[in-house]
Structure formats: C-alpha cells, structure tokens
C-alpha cells in the first residue's frame, strides 16, 4: 500500500501556493494535515501528480476571536482549536464537535480547514460549518472570495473550491445572544469512526425560556452535511414542546434522506437522525437555559 509517485513542493507563503496553483492547479493537490488524503493516496484511490504542502505556512495557523465571528486559519490543527478557551467560549459547538473527530493522533495532525475541503459527508467539521453558516475565505492568484457553507459543500468530497484556489481562513459566526447553547453528538460503530449519523444544534433563548434563534443539522450517510434553517425557524418562539419538536425532527429526518451502507441501513439512519436531533435540540436548549 504505497502511494503512486508524485512531485512535491513545500510552500512558504500563500502567494507561492497561488502561483503554483495558477500554473498547474488541475494536477496539483494541496496537503495540510493529510489525515484523509494520505490513506487515499496510499490505496491509490487518488494520485496527484504534484503535492503542495501548505502546512508550514505560519500565516495559515491562527485563531482570532472577533466581535461577530471567530476566525481560524485553514491550517490550524484540530487539537489547537479544541484547546483554545476563548474560541470555546465564542463558538462552543466547534470544541463539542472536535471531541468526536478521530483520535488524539489524528487531531494532533489534522486541520479544520483540511476537514472542510475534504468534505466527507459523515465528517463533523462540515456539519458545524453548515449549522453556523461559516464563511470560507478562498484565495487564488486573482484575489480572495468568500463562500458561505451553504454554497461551499457541493457533494461528497466536492466543494466550491476551484482548482486554482486555496482555503485561507474560516469565519465562524458568533451568536450574540446571552443565553445561547449548543450540543453535538453522533452514533458510530466504534468511537472515533465516521458517524453513522451526527447531529448538532445551537439555540438561543429569552428570559422566559422561549427560543429566539435555532439552527440544527445532520451528517452521515447523506449526500452532504445539512443544516435545516427553515425547519429550525419553526421552533422559534417555542419552548421545545414535544409536539413541535417531533414534527420538526420528523421533517428533518425525511429531508435528510440518508443512504445505506455496510454499517447502517437508510431506515436505521433515519431513526438515528430523528432521535439524535431531538436529543441535541433538548441538550442545546438546556445549555442555553443554564446560561446566566
């Protein structure tokens, strides 16, 4: 299980990356942590002619928490993000989700940006991006553009990133509400495996315990990780009464329409989608209600 031969270059700046991508973007592949890419290369499921290592570009490794959003560099490692207290306060869902991503060793090497660009339908980070409406800043030799998560994920292992573009940073919107909570869970066969189904929710409540803002989403067995903002909007104003939750969750599970594989049938996944979404809505609601 050895990769096919390829040419290699280590980039020292984003300009250098953009320049190389301009020249041979179609044949080149960017590598950051490589935790998803390298096994695919080892199995020769993918064989880039040229590998560009962007993982040594310091400018791509940062965490900043700003008023409206938090910003993370594309090559910030998952373990660094999971350990950052300020980020956890600003965007708690990120840390909650990262606990489900792989294992210690893969989080030490893997980057959040890599996970987003790889866009595995069962991966956790794309789900978080969808629920929060993260903005992906893509850079090419012609400049930068920002793509919202809803437009970024186009299909399994497919994103809106063009062959001449490199993900530069991710902007994670902050919710300004005082009483805000989030929750993330998943069911897999073993801990650390890709989720059969992952579910997450983020909710803000007012002093009376009524939801003022809700979003939630699902990943696993689907085409792409999905958020359900329209369904979530139906919960605004509610206190997550059983009947409305049931109705929203069932609609979500139907819309999610998961596929089947060796480990879970579509029916089982649909059931998990409904159960886990209910649980995450309730957990997020409780977290929000517990905010002082």
């Amino acid at each position: 299980m050895k990769s096919a031969a390829f040419e290699y270059a280590r980039a020292s700046s984003l300009d250098e990356v953009c320049d190389w991508l301009r020249k041979d973007g179609d044949d080149a592949k960017l590598i950051a942590g490589g935790q998803s890419l390298v096994p695919m290369m080892a199995m020769r499921l993918t064989r880039p002619a040229r590998l560009i290592n962007i993982n040594e570009i310091d400018a791509l490794k940062f965490i900043t928490v700003e008023k409206d959003h938090a910003r993370t560099g594309a090559c910030t490692r998952q373990c660094v993000i999971a350990r950052d207290g300020a980020l956890a306060n600003a965007v708690p869902l990120l840390k909650q989700a990262l606990e489900w991503v792989g294992h210690v060793q893969t989080r030490n090497r893997g980057t959040v940006g890599g996970s987003l660009v790889h866009a595995d339908p069962a991966a956790e980070m794309p789900l978080v991006a969808q629920i929060l409406g993260a903005q992906m800043v893509l850079r090419s030799h012609t400049g930068t553009r920002t793509v919202a998560a809803a437009e970024f994920f186009e299909g399994p292992l497919t994103t809106a990133t063009r062959a001449d573009e490199c993900l530069e940073e991710i902007r994670w919107p902050r919710w300004s509400e005082k009483r805000m909570g989030s929750a993330f869970t998943e069911i897999s066969r073993r801990h650390g495996d890709f989720a059969l189904v992952a579910a997450a929710a983020q909710i803000a409540v007012d002093e009376n315990g009524s939801c003022t803002r809700v979003n939630f989403g699902l990943a696993g067995g689907g085409y792409i990780p999905m958020a359900f903002p329209k369904l979530a909007a139906r919960l605004v104003g509610s206190k997550l009464e059983d009947d409305i939750v049931e109705s929203v969750v069932n609609d979500a599970a139907t819309e999610f329409d998961p596929g089947g594989d060796l480990h879970a049938s579509p029916d089982y996944r649909r059931q998990l989608a409904a159960v886990l979404t209910t649980r995450m809505l309730r957990a997020a609601y409780e977290n929000a209600s517990n905010c002082k």
């Binding site: 050895k2 031969a5 490589g34 390298v38 210690v104 060793q105 090497r109």
Partner: protein, 161 residues
Amino acid sequence: MEKLYPVAIEVNGKPRSAQVPARLSLVDFLREELRLTGTHVGCEHGICGACSVMLDGDPVRSCLMFAVQADGHRITTVEGLTPADGTLSVLQDSFCEAHGLQCGYCTPGMLIASQALLNATPNPSEEQIRDAIGGNLCRCTGYRQIVDAVKLAAGRLAEQK
C-alpha cells in the same frame, strides 16, 4: 529515476538527513532508511496506531505522513523513550511490571500514546487513559493490563516528584 527530495529531521535528539522519494512515508523512512525498526506498520491507512511517533512532542500516525513533510521537525520514536543509560523509563518499566503487552507489536505505539498523555496529564483517570490509547488497536491484551500499566506509571512518576 524517481526524483529525490532532501529531508533533515531530528530523530530522538539526533539530526538525520537523507534524499528520499516524495512518496516515502515517514514510517518507512524511519524503518527502512534509518533502521529504527521499533516503530511498526499495522494498517498503513491510519486506523491501528502501531506506527505512532511523536512529532514535535505530539503523538501522530507516521503512516499518514510523507517523510518530506517532516523535514525540519522533531521526531521521537519508541527507541527515544529509553533513557540514555540503557535502563527502562518509568513507563516502559511499568508496562513490564503490569505485563501490558504480549506480542509486542502494538506496544511502541501504545507507549508513545501513553507517554504523551502522561506528559500532558500527570494523573490521568481511567477514562482519559482509554481515550489516549483509543486510537491504538491491540489484539492481545484486551487493553486491561495496558491501562493498569499507565496507571502504575502515573503513580510512580507522582512519587518521584
């Protein structure tokens, strides 16, 4: 002829350099080029953890890296856990005392994972130990004596302080 690329890595405190094909994995580089055969190959697709090494102090899977990516970095392998005087480290000795291994194949990865845990968390709970070795598969032990060994090591290290 396949193009070769220079790599210079500090391995177990010693500078090592070579010219290697870009596709050479870090674990193959360590084993075949440097003859540091303590690090093992189990699955080559990032699941079993037998190839765990520390990269700049953090445990990573060396089958999920190309050697060229490690250029300029610091690697610690199981050979580097052994004190210079040839004795066993506290963790290694604890694995012997608790018999936290059988065939020895996953052991270097287990040691790297648990040493990294103890470096960061001197007094880990059983849950933290299991989480730290959760990405390392062992087929011999059922993990029980490995967990015991890490607990034993943590206690001994605390006594030394």
